[in-house]
């Protein structure tokens, strides 16, 4: 960084006013006897972006805080931070090189969609069972492992679509069996603290699966070959393909943004399945029943829905979604039994950021986390440090969300059972 003090002083200034703002705004709203659930967040963001200029009117007027008050200051504080960074480090690629920024954004978006899709499974489990599944990363891992072994070792040349389907089906069965065997005592009130029981027992499952795979498949990195090749496209003309240029494993847009085939197919697949899932949840009886159980267990039971079966379905579906994400990404990353840990942590982040059991929240949260990670890895001046910090970026978002707005972006504040408590 050329002028690090510009950035760090701005940063310190923002932190100072954010902390002041969150405390002062909460106090101001409490004194007027108004709803304080959004006050710390708005106060912190307004303080970070405008300093005392915005805080004083907010504390004096104390208007009803709506979405409008939440989005604009949050975006403004991100903008202030970016401008400070631009002044501090004018030679950084993130500031000087437009095409680098464009390709970082596109890659962040694509990976963010995949993250969001994976977190969707966790959200589904959380909204219906009230359990954070710590085995989510392991479902992701076995999805990739099964697909790899089917296509590369057991039946070489197998159609990848069939292999992916088999992997998803196995994860579904495993999830359903686990739920029947280990999670059922939670619903019958046999466990004192069901949420903690759920966390610990899925933790045990994660541990068992991870070492089972390591014992059977070994700890060497595996990688599946590409599932599909891109067709050869040259647009607008083959002599000057500035719009789209594809080779078998890569696609280049506008001569600047390069997207690798495995990630692209994974993202497209995720969007398609997301659409199918939305249709399932909103248009079919079973999907509606699932959503009903997530809103109110007892009322759903009175309406003739068996909540226990919905629990099983939700856990199995959640595991299947993670396995699908893994099956799509085994062609992009090298696969180890421990590969699930970082995506699982990311899913936790997205779950909290998106809000309690909110499905759009999971997708938006995934994209935000993807972009944040792309910015973190691309813009930090020391590339090695940037790479080492990858697991921490998401955790910073998690910490900030839990401190400022524990309900997340689209969280419901009141839900049935254990879901409403945090």
């Amino acid at each position: 960084m050329e002028f690090p003090h510009i950035f760090w002083w701005t940063f310190a200034w923002m932190i100072f006013w954010a902390v002041t703002g969150s405390i002062a705004t909460r106090r101001a709203y409490l004194r007027r006897d108004l709803d304080t659930s959004n006050a710390p967040f708005v106060g912190a963001m307004l303080g970070a972006s405008t300093g005392p200029l915005g805080l004083v009117p907010l504390c004096l007027n104390t208007p009803t805080l709506t979405t409008r008050f939440m989005v604009a200051p949050a975006l403004a504080s991100v903008a202030v931070l970016m401008i400070a960074f631009g002044f501090a480090d004018p030679d950084n690629f993130c500031v000087s090189n437009g095409s680098f920024v464009a390709s970082q954004i596109v890659n962040g978006l694509i990976i963010g969609i995949i993250y969001g899709f994976m977190a969707l499974g966790l959200t589904l489990i959380f909204s219906i069972l009230g359990v954070v599944s710590f085995a989510h990363g392991e479902f992701y891992m076995i999805g990739g492992m099964i697909t790899y072994f089917l296509t590369a070792v057991w039946f070489p040349g197998m159609n990848p679509v069939i292999a992916i389907s088999i992997a998803c089906l196995s994860a579904f069965v495993l999830g359903a069996a686990f739920e029947r065997l280990f999670l059922t005592p939670m619903y019958e009130g046999k466990v004192d603290r069901p949420v903690e029981y759920g966390i610990l027992v899925t933790f045990g499952l994660a541990f068992t699966i991870q070492y089972f795979v390591q014992a059977t498949a070994g700890a060497n990195p595996l990688k599946a070959s590409r599932y599909f090749d891109f067709p050869r496209i040259r647009l607008p003309t083959s002599a000057d393909p500035w719009l789209i240029k594809t080779s078998r494993g890569n696609m280049e847009l506008f001569d600047t943004v390069s997207i690798s085939n495995p990630r692209f197919t994974a993202a497209v697949m995720c969007i398609i399945v997301f659409g199918a899932l939305m249709f399932f949840l909103h248009r079919t009886w079973t999907g509606k029943a699932l959503r009903a159980v997530s809103q109110d267990r007892e009322a759903a039971a009175i309406a003739g829905i068996n909540p226990d079966r919905m629990n099983m379905l939700a856990f199995a579906l959640g595991g299947m979604i993670a396995a699908l994400a893994g099956a799509m990404l085994v062609q992009a990353f090298s696969w180890l039994p421990q590969v699930g840990a970082i995506p699982a942590l990311r899913s936790f982040v997205i779950l909290v950021l998106g809000g309690l059991g909110s499905i759009p929240g999971a997708f938006v949260g995934g994209v935000i986390v993807g972009l944040f990670e792309a910015a973190g890895t691309g813009c930090l001046p020391d590339a090695q440090k940037a790479a080492s910090y990858i697991p921490a970026y998401g955790m910073i978002i998690l910490t900030l969300t839990l401190l400022l707005r524990p309900t997340g972006l689209f969280g419901r504040r009141f839900a049935s059972g254990a879901h409403g408590k945090f």
Binding site: L200, A341, V352, A392, K421, F422
Partner: protein, 404 residues
């Protein structure tokens, strides 16, 4: 001897057994067994303090390994960067304190020592052996590590005040992961994955019971760890029996009800965090000085899962049961390292033992929610309670107007 006394007698016998074990055991694998036992005590401290935090107070934290890392890294950085010298080096940042110079070595990260040297090594090269520098005392580093653990515990305790259940678990997991990422990324200070080396726990050796022990001997660290474990257990048992334990359990059962009945929930929640994280940090600092190297991988989720599983299998609502569970399981995991062959297949037990262990964790949770050790203790100490309650009930129904 009444039946309630049996667990106490057994506990006393166990402690005595551990105390005389190093003197009577003389087999060839003495260093290996001693090392295993030190690791057992280390995990026992972590498991029992974690069971205090989660079993008693109901704060399911996944950041316990993070506090261990805070303690270990504080001790490591302290011994790595601070020295005392009688004359100024002229290269380093240094302060005159009581006739000695406190030398703060500059951070050079991982470099070949022939190319770049830190300021103290440069000064030593100039002096050429004419000046004797003193490293900082090990106990001071361990104390600082413990205090730093307490400070982090206070900070985390304050931050998690409004969070419950799943959110608390995720937040503490996040803390632990951020810490790990920071420790492995800030190579210039922490040397990243290369790890920091620490001095021996007793660098000059120590004379105990009229016998001199070399710095590589296992017996002094064995007793240090054992005493630390007994000390932590004594504090926790005393707290559990006192008002503190009652308040903290009330917090676990229903926080709002406890607050309504006048328990200062904020204070007790933070206190229990500070206390258990100090224990974890102390254990981490001592262990780091014993194994003499600390890397960010010591904070891995695997380590955390081991601690959680040990506490759960022992009995999460009983600190002694958690400690015994940790000792037994760590010992069993060590014994199960040997691979064996069934027909054409070689079973690599180094991995399979962890599979068995994970399955055992799940089955214990499912069918024996109080763990495997704590029901045994309860059988002796509280076995009569059920009978007495039934007897009272029978007596009560006889004196009343008859059965309803």
């Amino acid at each position: 001897m009444t039946r309630e006394r049996i667990p106490q007698a057994a506990g006393l016998a166990l402690v005595l057994g551990f105390a005389i074990f190093p003197f009577v055991y003389t087999a060839n694998d003495y260093p290996y067994i001693m090392h295993t036992l030190i690791a057992c005590f280390f995990y026992a401290i972590l498991a029992s303090s974690w069971s205090m935090l989660s079993g008693y107070a109901g704060q399911f934290s996944f950041g316990h390994m993070g506090f261990t890392g805070v303690g270990a890294y504080t001790a490591a950085l302290f011994s790595h960067y601070f020295y005392l010298s009688p004359v100024p080096t002229g290269f380093c940042t240094e302060f005159l304190i009581g006739g000695q110079y406190l030398v703060i070595v500059d951070a050079i990260g991982v470099t070949s020592s022939t190319l770049t040297q830190d300021c103290l090594r440069k000064a030593l090269a100039v002096w050429d052996g004419s000046v004797q520098i003193t490293p900082m005392p090990v106990w001071l580093g361990i104390t600082l590590g413990t205090l730093m653990g307490g400070l982090f515990g206070l900070l985390i305790g304050l931050l998690v005040l409004p969070l419950r259940a799943a959110y608390l678990a995720l937040f503490t997991l996040g803390f632990s992961e951020i810490l790990r990422a920071a420790l492995s990324a800030e190579i210039s200070i922490t040397r990243g994955q290369a790890g920091i080396e620490l001095p021996y726990l007793f660098d000059a050796g120590i004379t105990l019971f009229g016998r001199h022990f070399d710095k590589t001997d296992k017996l002094p660290p064995y007793f240090v760890m054992l005493f630390l474990l007994l000390f932590c257990l004594a504090i926790m048992l005393w707290l559990a029996k006192s008002k503190f334990g009652l308040f903290v359990r009330a917090l676990r059962e229903d926080q709002d009800a406890a607050a309504a009945l006048g328990v200062n929930t904020t204070r007790y929640k933070i206190l229990v965090f500070v206390l258990t994280s100090m224990m974890a940090a102390a254990a981490g600092a001592v262990m780091a000085h014993y194994i003499r190297i600390i890397t960010p991988n010591n904070l891995m989720i695997l380590q955390m899962s081991l601690v959680v599983a040990m506490a759960v299998i022992g009995g999460v609502e009983n600190v002694v049961a958690a400690a015994i569970g940790a000792i037994l399981i760590n010992f069993a995991l060590e014994l199960l390292r040997n691979s064996f062959e069934i027909g054409p297949f070689t079973i690599d037990m180094t991995i399979w033992r962890l599979v068995v262990f994970g399955a055992l964790l799940m089955v214990t949770l499912r069918f024996a929610r109080n763990g495997l050790i704590s029901p045994i203790i309860d059988y002796f100490t509280r076995g009569h309670v059920a009978k007495e309650t039934v007897a009272k009930r029978v007596a009560g129904s006889e004196t009343a107007e008859g059965p309803p």
